[in-house]
Symmetry: C2
Subunit: 187 residues, 2 copies
DNA sequence: CTTAAATACGGAGCTATGCTCCGTTTTTCA
DNA sequence: TGAAAAACGGAGCATAGCTCCGTATTTAAG
């Protein structure tokens, strides 16, 4: 990769993060290019779609998420580790206003961090299921869907952020095996 | 209301439903006006925002949802009634591609049907809480966000639609009071 | 049947954004 | 050092949102 290309890519990521933080994930990409002091053509050459740019700006963060989760999970119950993972996922889904709605797509954008986070989630889920703490029919998509719901809910009003831990707990609780020997509802 | 105004309003609603059905909730409003054979100014005079138009086109449907829910809930447990309500809400969030993302705003658009659906949701939630089948700290907003998340998640991959009933069940299950009240497993 | 006020209509036009395309510039390396 | 390869920049076209105001239609009073 040519030196100027690398430099511009980095500038774009910094600018994109700033602009998305200030104006949300739907902000104008022209503004991003302007803030990076780069032509709009350069932006599109590096990041063909908005999701690609979003995925790239979140890449480091998702790498961190995965790494920290891996480190702490050794000393926690499988369910508690999954709960913390979900809570962090909700947190990252709220980094940019409007990011939550496309969390699923972004996580599939293929960057290293997104991949690491997906892997880690898969690992935690399977561990919890193996320990009998989560029902066998739950899939990672379901957990991601929960993160979306919680993040959306939290972004609706001012008191939202405070409710995140509580909502997270509630949903995780819903993943546990049926309390009656014979399942109560959904099979 | 002047006769021509009423006529144009009706034409707009018919056209909007057709266009949104074909091209999703983000379709061009110019197209809607064109299909209704009405000036774009007329569209905006009747419906100042996209959400207002969406709310109006969904009005009848939401009226139906509320009515049917009211009718059947008498013969169901409070939790089961709430579960069916959520499942229907997810269904209606999917009638136009992309509607789910603004479901919360649309429900607050003030039309009769949106109001009726909101009321019905509130009623079901309170009933379930009064019966001790749902935690007291859950709000209708949380349920609406679940619908949004489930619908969004379902529309993001091919296997989505099949997962709707299961996801609905999982989320509703999470709303039940903690089992800690009667002997828990851990934590 | 006027006729004037009230109401509604229409669409030109301005702004904003997405995205492409290609002439110019910078970098690389033999 | 010089030419090929790579990257840059931003003009420019397409599309959409939304406003504004001159014109047309409806209503109802006389």
């Amino acid at each position: 990769m040519r030196a100027d290309a690398r430099r511009n890519r980095d500038r774009l990521l910094v600018a994109a993060d700033a602009v998305f933080t200030e104006r949300g994930a739907d902000a104008s990409l022209n503004d991003v290019a302007k803030q990076a002091e780069v032509g709009i053509g350069t932006l599109y050459r590096h990041f063909p779609t908005r999701e690609a740019l979003l995925g790239a700006t979140c890449d480091e963060r998702f790498l961190t998420l995965a790494k920290q989760s891996r480190e702490r999970s050794a000393s926690l119950s499988a369910l508690e580790a999954l709960r913390l993972f979900l809570e962090e996922l909700v947190h990252y889904a709220g980094i940019y206003q409007g990011l939550a709605a496309s969390l699923g797509v972004v996580l599939r954008s293929g960057t290293e961090g997104c991949h690491a986070t997906t892997e880690e989630g898969q690992r935690l889920l399977q561990a919890a299921q193996h320990a009998g703490e989560v029902r066998d029919d739950i899939r990672l998509d379901d957990v991601v869907c929960m993160a979306m719901a919680i993040s959306l809910s939290a972004s609706q009003d001012a008191s939202g952020p405070k409710r995140i831990p509580r909502l997270t707990g509630i949903f995780i609780d819903g993943l546990r095996p049926p309390r009656d020997a014979r399942g109560t509802r959904h099979r």
